[in-house]
């Protein structure tokens, strides 16, 4: 028996009558063989069968038909609908009542079973949708969802679209291309409404600006849209429609049943929830970024107002002194002023360099241009350049022999080592020792800058590498609080780590690592060397 014909209503009623006729025949046969008192009970079979197979309506029809047939064929006088015996009247009425009640109960059971079935299907589909939406690749997730709906409802095509207001702008489609084209055409008018507006007046047309041409849908498009093959279910995000699921039925397929409608709106709701989760996530990230930007801006203003002004003041004072006409400076004094200008300008330059680096680090736009270098040469070069800065300290180098070439951005790691040494100089008393060492350890190289200064308060250690943090509790902090943060950011961009600790016997130690093996390139270099 064909499933679709089973659920056509007239077919059910016809079958109910046929079943009644069948039972009538059976009762007649039995009567030929023997006189049976309760033969009418056989009609309950027809009523129950109709109820189970076709529902309430056919069951009632079967009850009435049974009542009439039994009365007509088997109750005295035969072949009339009149009843003489009171017994027979009671029996006939019982048949009718029993038939109606049985039919009702059975039909109710059948309906419950069907509902349970469709609920189960709904649950399975929804579970699948939730599972598929977990795919971080949004387009792939939506395509999978579309495909799931398509197979479940036996459709030609399913297209899922999200518009401009939604946090994701994705389209996903599945199905045959003709049906997808039909679905896309159905999307057209909605977008036109969104993008539309009043047509410019004649005077407005002369004005500069952009006008969106509103193209009314053609008659053909409208006709195709009206074809009830296409159906659109809106997807809402916080009550606002942001997209839709567009479904195209197969040619000649029946309309969507209420169960399917319920399923579709449940799926749409689920998609809306997934979207909401996504947009909440995004908002949280944006809020965090804003908060951090704001913090950075405040700290930056502090740094600018203090750290940039200090060297500028000395420069202006020195330059102004040099220009004074009423004082005759000696050659030595003039030299001092010039030197002060130079020193402070260099300090300013380093500070601006660090500010630039920090803003690049915060913006995530650090892209190290790595190449293989000798780390020892770099350390010595930095030391050479910083000779004036480190003049008051004892610098000790310990660079292990046979340190292999390391892959890094020369300018950036130069900056890291410069900042670490400058930091050590700033926060330790003159005459103390600063040691710089480099050695390979496993699959990384370790560079260490250690001092014999006062060390760092244990409580401050976790924050020492943060931007604008100054560990010094005295009011005369000499640093800008930038250098270590820049070092941390640059080392991080190289895939290395940086840590701070207090040394045994006093002083602080800054250690950073750089990965030693970038397998491919190094293998190539090795090959070249042995070749």
């Amino acid at each position: 028996m064909n499933v679709s014909s089973l659920s056509r209503p007239w077919f059910g009623y016809l079958c109910a009558l046929a079943l009644t006729a069948l039972v009538t025949g059976a009762v007649a046969l039995i009567r030929v063989v023997a006189e049976v008192g309760n033969a009418s009970m056989l009609y309950l079979l027809a009523v129950m069968a109709s109820a189970v197979l076709f529902g309430r309506g056919p069951a009632i029809l079967a009850s009435i038909a049974s009542f009439l047939a039994f009365n007509f064929f088997f109750v005295e006088p035969h072949y009339t609908l009149s009843v003489t015996s009171n017994d027979e009247v009671v029996s006939l009425l019982l048949l009718l009542i029993a038939g109606v009640i049985t039919g009702q109960l059975t039909a109710l059971l059948r309906q419950r079973a069907r509902e349970a079935q469709s609920r189960e299907r709904e649950a399975v589909v929804l579970y699948d949708v939730v599972r598929l939406m977990a795919d971080p690749e949004r387009e792939r997730a939506l395509t999978a969802v579309a495909e799931r709906i398509r197979t479940e409802l036996e459709l030609s095509a399913v297209v899922i679209v999200f518009g401009k207001q939604s946090p994701i702008r994705v389209q996903a489609d599945t199905g045959d291309s003709e049906a997808i084209a039909l679905a896309r055409e159905a999307m057209g008018p909605a977008e036109m409404v969104l993008g539309g507006g009043q047509a410019p007046t004649a005077s407005q047309r002369g004005q500069p600006g952009r006008w969106i041409r509103v193209v009314p849908p053609t008659a053909r498009t409208i006709a195709r849209l009206r074809s009830d093959r296409v159906r659109s279910v809106p997807v809402n995000l916080r009550g606002q429609p942001v997209g839709s699921i567009i479904l195209v039925r197969k040619h000649g397929a029946r309309k969507f049943s209420p169960a399917n409608d319920r399923l579709l709106s449940a799926v749409a709701h689920q998609l809306g929830l997934a979207l909401e989760r996504l947009s909440l996530q995004r908002e949280a990230t944006e809020a965090e970024v804003l908060r951090r930007t704001d913090e950075l801006r405040k700290a930056l203003l502090n740094a600018v107002s203090h750290d940039l002004r200090t060297p500028l003041s000395s420069i202006m004072a020195s330059a102004g002194s040099l220009r004074q006409d009423d004082v005759s400076w000696t050659e030595a004094q003039r030299g001092e002023f010039a030197e002060a200008i130079e020193t402070e300008a260099e300090r300013l330059n380093r500070l601006v360099g660090n500010l630039l680096d920090l803003s690049r680090i915060e913006a995530g736009s650090i892209r190290p241009e790595k190449s293989w270098y000798d780390l020892g040469s770099l350390i010595n070069e930095v030391a050479g350049r910083l000779r004036a800065v480190t003049a008051g300290h004892k610098l000790i180098f310990d660079i292990s022999e046979g340190l292999p070439p390391v892959l890094f951005d020369y300018v950036e790691i130069d900056q890291v080592i410069t900042n670490l040494i400058e930091n050590a100089v700033k926060y330790t008393p003159a005459g103390t020792e600063i040691s710089v060492s480099a050695r390979a350890a496993g699959d990384e190289v370790q560079v260490q800058v250690a001092d014999r200064g006062p060390g760092i308060l244990e409580a401050a250690i976790p924050r020492v590498l943060d931007a604008f943090f100054r560990a010094s509790d005295s009011g005369t902090a000499k640093g800008s609080g930038l250098g270590l943060a820049v070092a941390k950011g640059l080392v991080g961009a190289h895939g290395g780590r940086i840590r701070v600790e207090n040394r045994e016997g006093g002083g602080a130690r800054f250690v950073f690592t750089l990965p030693l093996h970038a397998p491919e390139s190094e293998a190539a270099a090795q090959k070249k060397e042995t070749a």
Binding site: E342, A345, N349, G353, L356, R360, E369, S371, W372, Y373, D374, G376, S377, L378, I379, N380, E381, G384, F397, I399, P405, L407, D409, Y410, V411, D414, S521, E522, A524, A525, K528, E529
Partner: protein
């Protein structure tokens, strides 16, 4: 210092075209360079710079890479398609890639703003000297400090004793010695020593430079001959320019 000022003044008259749009820098350059006996012509746009180059044929060009109208690299290209006038790039920190591109296009040297006057004068001297004697590497025996390269016999001596170099190391040293005191970018060295197909594989180069330093430098950790120009290349320092 005074000695070299006089030397410059004597040599004098070298005409320098300054293409730079920041008035403060132009003023400082003009004052300083004129005081050292150079003739300075400043222009503030790339177009004016190209016109001035064609009209005046300067001895050297100081070129800011961040000009308002034309990309500085285009000026390098235009000048190089016409002649070998030395070009010194003025660039800001963080524009390393652009700088290297300009150098690979044929610019001779660079200065990162802010720069000192001593540095500027040294670069100008080296660039002018190279125009005067472009083929420094052609001498049969090249000497600087304690380093001696005998080109005819392919021998290298440090403080009188022979040093054994692999063929690649020797070629690398020759490449350096052929352009003393001049900036050489990584890709120039790679192309010259390893051939054009190695233009982008700088790791060969830095590994070999480290090895070469171990053999010829008195203190490889603090090199005095082969100096790294961070992120750009190397410079083989002989101080010949200031001696000349």
């Amino acid at each position: 210092m005074t000695g070299s000022v006089q030397a410059d003044a004597r040599r004098g008259g070298a005409r320098i075209l300054v293409i730079e749009d920041e008035p403060g820098i132009v003023r400082a350059l003009k004052t300083n360079l004129s005081a050292h006996g150079f003739q300075v012509e400043p222009v503030d746009t790339g177009r004016a710079g190209l016109n001035a180059y064609k009209r005046r044929r300067p001895d050297l060009i100081l070129l800011d890479l961040g000009l308002p109208d034309i990309d500085g690299k285009e000026i390098v290209r235009a000048v190089r398609s016409d002649g070998a006038t030395p070009i010194i790039i003025l660039s800001v920190r963080g524009a390393e890639r652009e700088k290297v591109e300009a150098l690979d296009l044929g610019a001779d040297d660079y200065l990162t703003k802010p720069f000192g006057v001593d540095e500027l004068l040294a670069r100008i001297r080296v660039a002018l000297r190279h125009t005067a004697a472009p083929d420094a590497g052609a001498e049969p025996v090249f000497r600087t400090g304690e380093l001696e390269i005998d080109v005819s016999q392919r021998l290298v001596r440090v403080a009188g004793s022979e040093v054994h170099l692999s063929p690649t190391e020797y070629e690398l040293l020759r490449a350096f010695a052929s352009q003393p005191d001049k900036l050489i970018t990584d890709s120039m060295l790679l192309r010259r020593v390893w051939g054009p197909e190695y233009g982008d594989e700088a790791h060969y180069l830095h590994v070999y430079v480290a090895r070469l330093r171990k053999k010829i430098e008195p203190d490889p950790q603090a090199p005095r001959y082969i100096i790294t120009e961070p992120g750009v290349g190397y410079r083989f320092v002989t101080n010949r320019a200031s001696l000349a």
